[in-house]
C-alpha cells in the first residue's frame, strides 16, 4: 500500500482508504461518519474535478461517487479515474436505478452500484467486499512474485501454489454479477475449488436458506455425481455436510469446516478422501477457503436481493410517475376571457412540483403552484399530499391568504416541524373585473407582462414557507390585470436551470424572454420560455423540476381541440368545451341546450361526416366575447348539402329519419350554418340577455 501524502490519512491504521465524491453535503457527511466509524479512512470531494485531484495524489483504495453531479458526471469521473489507475475500484451511487446507467457504468469498469436511498450497511458491505478483493489480488501478486523468484522451500512452494490457485479462483468468485449461473453455480464452483485444491474425491456444501439448509454434494472422481437435499432448520450443517460425503466403505480422510459470517454460521463445507488423512496444513487451507467462500456466497445472495430490489424500485418508480401525472391537470382549464398554458417537467421520474386549478364563484379561476423542498420519492409523496390539500381548500375557501393559512397548518400537522417544507403561491383571478388577489408562501414571485407598456413586472409579495410554523399568517395582495396582460407563475427550477458552465437561467433572462414574446399571449410566452431554457442548458440534465403557468387576460380569440372519433377521446374533447361553456354563466336550460347541440354536432361529424370511422379526426373550435358564443365542429369527411334536409315537424316528414338533429340544433341555438363544403358547422349562441 502506498504511503498517504496526508498525515491525517496516514496516521490511521485503517481497513482501507475511501474517497467519497458527492455534491450533497449531508449525504457525504453521513457516509463519512459511518465509514470512519467502521474503520475506514475517508476523504471527500464535492464534485468530479475535486475528486480527480484528490485521487491523483492519494490513490484511494475505493472511490464511491454519485452519478448525478453538477460540472462532471459520475460516469466521466469513473472514466478518468480508470485512466489514472486502471485497477481503481469505483462504486457508483445512483438515484436513477435504470438499467442503461448500470450497463454504461459496468462497461466503464464500475465495481458496483448503490441505489439511493441506500442503507449505510449496504454501503459498508460493498466497501468491505471490495477491500477484500483488493487484498486477495495483492496477495496473489505477491505469491506469484515469490514463486518466480524461487525463494520458497518445497513445502512453502507447494502450499503457495495451492493457495494461489485457490485465491485466483475465489477472486473470480467474489465478483458477483460477472457470472450468469447464479447462486447454485457459485456453490458448485466453491465445492470444485475446495475439492480440487485438497485432492478430495467428494465434497459437500450445506448452505442456510429460508427455513433450513440445502446440501449440495459432488463426487469429483469419475464417475462424477451431483446430489442435492434439503434439511430442516435445526439440522447441524457440519454433520449434514459430513454425512453427504462419507461413504459406507469408509474413508481415510474426512474434513469439515463451518462457513461463517462473523459469528453467524451460514453453512459448512466437508471433504472426503479415501487414500489418506488430511494434514493440519490442509485443514488450514480449507479454513481460509471457507472464509472466502462465506464472503462470496453472501455477495451472491446480496447481489440477487439487490437485483430484485432494483427491478422492484424501477417498477415502483414507473407507477409513481404515472400516479403523479394523474395529479397534474391533463390540460389547462378552458375559461372564457382567459387563455391558459402550462408546462411541467420533472428532473427525475417523480417530481416535487405541483400545480392545479380550481373554479371559484363568478367565473373566477383559482391557480396554485408549489414546490416541495427536496427531491425524489419523499418529495413526490408530499407533492401528492399538497396537491390534495390545495385542491380541497381551493373548493371551499376563496381568499388565497386563507387557502395558504389552512394549507400551512394542515401540512405542519402532517409533517412535524422542521422535517421539510413547501413553498407555494395561490392566486384567484377574476377575468370580468380584470383583477387578481394572491398570497404567497416563500415562493417565486409572480411575473406580469403588461400589454400597455411591453414591460415585465415582478409583483411584490412576502410570506413564510408552508409546514414549518403552524400559526403563520399570509398577506393578500391585489393586482390589476388588463386585457392582453400575461401572468406567469413559476417554480424555482425555471430560474435555477443551469448550463454546462454552472450559470443559472436567472430572473433577468426570464423577464426578457417574457417581454419579447408577451404580445403573442400565453402560448407564445410558454413556447419561448421552454425554448430558451432548452437552448440555455444545452442538453445538460435538469437539476430541478420545472413548472410554469401562463394566464393571458381578456382573450377572446379561438381555442380548439382535435380528437379522433373514438368514444373516450371524443368524450374528453367535448368535456373541454363543456368546461368552457360552463364558465360563461349561462342559465341552466340554455347550458343544457348548448351541451345537447355539441353532442349532436360531434355525433353528426363522426356518424355522417366520417361514416362511423373512429380513426378520422374532427376539430372543435370555439370563442366567446361579451355578445356571443361561437362553436365550430369541423370533420374530415367529404361534406353534405344541408339544403336537402327535410323539416321534421312538417306532418309529411314526421317519420322521416333525417333532419331531426339539425332541426333541434337550429331551435336550440341562435344561428346554425354550414360551410360550402358541408363538413363544418357553425353554432352561435347569443350571450346578451
Amino acid at each position: 500500500m502506498s504511503v498517504a501524502a496526508e498525515p491525517e490519512l496516514a496516521a490511521v491504521a485503517c481497513k482501507g482508504r475511501v474517497l467519497l465524491v458527492e455534491d450533497d453535503r449531508d449525504i457525504r457527511g453521513a457516509l463519512r461518519e459511518f465509514l470512519e466509524g467502521s474503520g475506514f479512512a475517508v476523504d471527500e470531494a464535492a464534485d468530479g474535478f475535486e475528486g480527480i485531484e484528490r485521487f491523483r495524489t492519494l490513490r484511494h483504495d475505493i472511490v464511491v461517487s454519485d452519478i448525478q453531479m453538477p460540472r462532471m458526471k459520475g460516469i466521466d469521473l469513473l472514466r478518468r479515474i480508470r485512466q489514472i489507475e486502471p485497477e481503481a475500484s469505483v462504486v457508483l451511487v445512483t438515484g436513477h436505478p435504470s438499467m442503461d446507467v448500470a450497463i454504461e457504468g459496468m462497461k466503464e469498469g464500475a465495481c458496483d452500484f448503490i441505489i439511493k436511498p441506500f442503507s449505510l450497511k449496504k454501503v459498508l458491505f460493498i466497501v468491505t467486499r471490495l477491500m477484500e478483493e483488493k487484498r486477495l489480488k495483492a496477495e496473489n501478486r505477491e505469491l506469484s512474485q515469490k514463486l518466480k523468484e524461487g525463494e520458497a522451500t518445497a513445502r512453502v512452494h507447494e502450499n503457495a501454489r495451492r493457495r494461489l490457485g485457490e485465491i485466483s479462483r475465489l477472486a473470480l468468485l467474489a465478483q458477483p454479477g460477472r457470472e450468469d449461473d447464479g447462486l447454485k453455480g457459485l456453490e458448485e464452483r466453491v465445492l470444485r475449488t475446495a475439492g480440487e485444491a485438497l485432492e478430495a474425491e467428494a465434497a459437500a456444501l450445506a448452505v442456510a436458506h429460508e427455513g433450513g439448509y440445502s446440501v449440495l454434494s459432488l463426487g469429483l472422481e469419475s464417475p462424477t455425481w451431483v446430489r442435492t437435499q434439503k434439511l430442516e432448520r435445526d439440522a447441524d450443517p457440519m454433520v449434514a455436510a459430513l454425512e453427504a460425503v462419507s461413504s459406507p466403505d469408509g474413508q481415510a480422510g474426512l474434513l469439515a469446516c463451518p462457513i461463517a459470517n462473523g459469528s453467524r454460521v451460514v453453512g459448512a463445507l466437508a471433504l472426503a478422501r479415501r487414500s489418506r488423512a488430511f494434514s493440519d496444513g490442509e485443514r488450514q487451507i480449507l479454513e481460509s477457503l471457507c472464509g472466502d467462500a462465506a464472503v462470496a456466497l453472501e455477495n451472491a445472495q446480496l447481489f440477487r436481493d439487490m437485483h430484485e430490489e432494483f427491478s422492484r424500485t424501477e417498477q415502483e418508480l414507473k407507477l409513481a410517475s404515472r400516479i403523479q401525472q394523474g395529479l397534474l391537470p391533463a390540460r389547462p382549464p378552458q375559461m372564457p376571457r382567459l387563455r391558459i398554458r402550462t408546462l411541467t417537467r420533472g428532473a427525475r421520474r417523480v417530481s416535487g412540483d405541483f400545480l392545479g386549478f380550481t373554479r371559484g364563484f363568478d367565473g373566477c379561476l383559482g391557480v396554485f403552484v408549489g414546490d416541495v423542498a427536496g427531491k425524489g420519492m419523499p418529495a413526490a409523496l408530499l407533492m401528492a399530499m399538497a396537491t390534495h390539500v390545495f385542491r380541497e381548500l381551493g373548493k371551499r375557501r376563496h381568499a388565497p391568504e386563507d387557502v395558504l393559512a389552512e394549507a400551512n397548518s394542515t401540512l405542519a400537522d402532517y409533517l412535524g416541524r422542521g422535517v421539510t417544507y413547501v413553498t407555494a403561491i395561490h392566486a384567484l383571478i377574476n377575468p370580468r373585473r380584470h383583477e387578481m388577489v394572491f398570497a404567497q408562501a416563500g415562493h417565486e414571485r409572480p411575473l406580469v407582462y403588461r400589454a400597455a407598456t411591453g414591460a415585465v413586472e415582478m409583483l411584490e409579495a412576502t410570506g413564510t414557507v408552508l409546514g414549518m410554523f403552524p400559526r403563520a399568517r399570509f398577506e393578500p395582495r391585489k393586482a390589476r390585470l388588463d386585457k392582453g396582460d400575461v401572468l406567469v407563475l413559476i417554480t424555482d427550477g425555471v430560474v435555477d436551470a443551469t448550463d454546462r458552465s454552472g450559470c443559472q437561467f436567472g430572473h433577468e433572462r426570464l423577464k426578457a424572454t417574457i417581454a419579447l414574446n408577451g404580445s403573442g399571449g400565453a402560448p407564445a410566452v410558454m413556447a419561448a420560455i421552454e425554448g430558451e431554457i432548452d437552448r440555455f442548458v444545452g442538453g445538460s440534465p435538469p437539476r430541478d423540476d420545472i413548472t410554469l403557468v401562463a394566464v393571458e387576460m381578456g382573450y377572446e380569440g379561438w381555442e380548439e381541440v382535435v380528437s379522433t372519433g373514438a368514444r373516450d377521446a371524443a368524450n374528453s374533447a367535448k368535456a373541454v368545451l363543456y368546461d368552457y361553456v360552463e364558465g360563461l354563466g349561462l342559465e341552466r336550460a340554455a347550458f343544457d341546450d348548448v351541451k345537447f347541440v355539441i353532442k349532436e354536432a360531434v355525433q353528426n361529424a363522426i356518424e355522417h361526416g366520417h361514416r362511423g370511422d373512429a380513426r378520422k379526426t374532427f376539430k372543435l373550435a370555439w370563442r366567446a366575447d361579451e355578445d356571443q358564443l361561437v362553436i365550430r365542429v369541423i370533420d374530415s369527411g367529404p361534406g353534405f348539402c344541408p339544403a336537402d334536409l327535410p323539416n321534421p315537424t312538417a306532418a309529411a316528414n314526421a317519420f322521416k329519419p333525417r333532419g331531426r338533429g339539425v332541426f333541434l340544433m337550429r331551435r336550440m341555438m341562435d344561428e346554425v350554418s354550414f360551410n360550402a363544403a358541408g363538413n363544418e358547422i357553425e353554432l352561435v349562441k347569443s350571450l346578451t340577455p
Binding site: 345537447f596 355525433q603 356518424e607 315537424t649
Partner: protein
C-alpha cells in the same frame, strides 16, 4: 377496485301491467345503444300493442334515439295500438317539445297515469 361502466350501456326493464307492456330504459339513450330499445319494442309487437315507455330513468336522449321512439310509434300505430310516454326528465321533455311531440304522442307525468290511460274500454272488444 371499481370498474367504470361503459358509457353507452343502457339497461332495459320490461314489465306487464294490466295488459300494458311497460318498457323502462335506465341510462342515457343515444346513437350507440338506441338499437337495443328499438329491438325490445319490436319484440313486443303483438296484435294491437299497448306500450308505455317509461323514461323516468333516462337523463338524456339524442335525436337518433328520438327517431327510434318515433319509428316505434309508427309501427305500433300501424297495428292499431299505441305507444305512450311517461316520466320525461326536463332535458328529454325539451327535445320532445321542440319536435312538437305533443302532436304525435300522448305524454303523462307518472307511470300509473300512463298505464291506466289504456282503460279497459279502449281494449279491443271481442265481437
Amino acid at each position: 377496485m371499481c370498474s367504470r361502466a361503459r358509457a353507452p350501456d343502457v339497461r332495459l326493464q320490461v314489465q306487464e301491467d294490466r295488459g300494458v307492456v311497460v318498457l323502462a330504459p335506465h341510462g342515457e339513450v343515444n346513437f350507440e345503444n338506441t338499437a337495443l330499445v328499438a329491438a325490445a319494442i319490436r319484440d313486443r309487437l303483438g296484435p294491437t300493442p299497448r306500450i308505455v315507455l317509461d323514461l323516468s330513468r333516462v337523463p338524456y336522449m339524442d335525436s337518433t334515439s328520438l327517431g327510434t321512439v318515433l319509428d316505434a310509434l309508427r309501427s305500433v300505430r300501424e297495428l292499431d295500438g299505441d305507444l305512450r310516454l311517461v316520466g320525461l326528465a326536463a332535458n328529454v321533455r325539451r327535445v320532445f317539445d321542440l319536435m312538437d311531440g305533443e302532436r304525435l304522442f300522448r305524454i303523462y307525468a307518472t307511470l300509473e297515469e300512463g298505464v291506466s290511460s289504456f282503460a279497459p274500454s279502449e281494449a279491443p272488444v271481442a265481437p
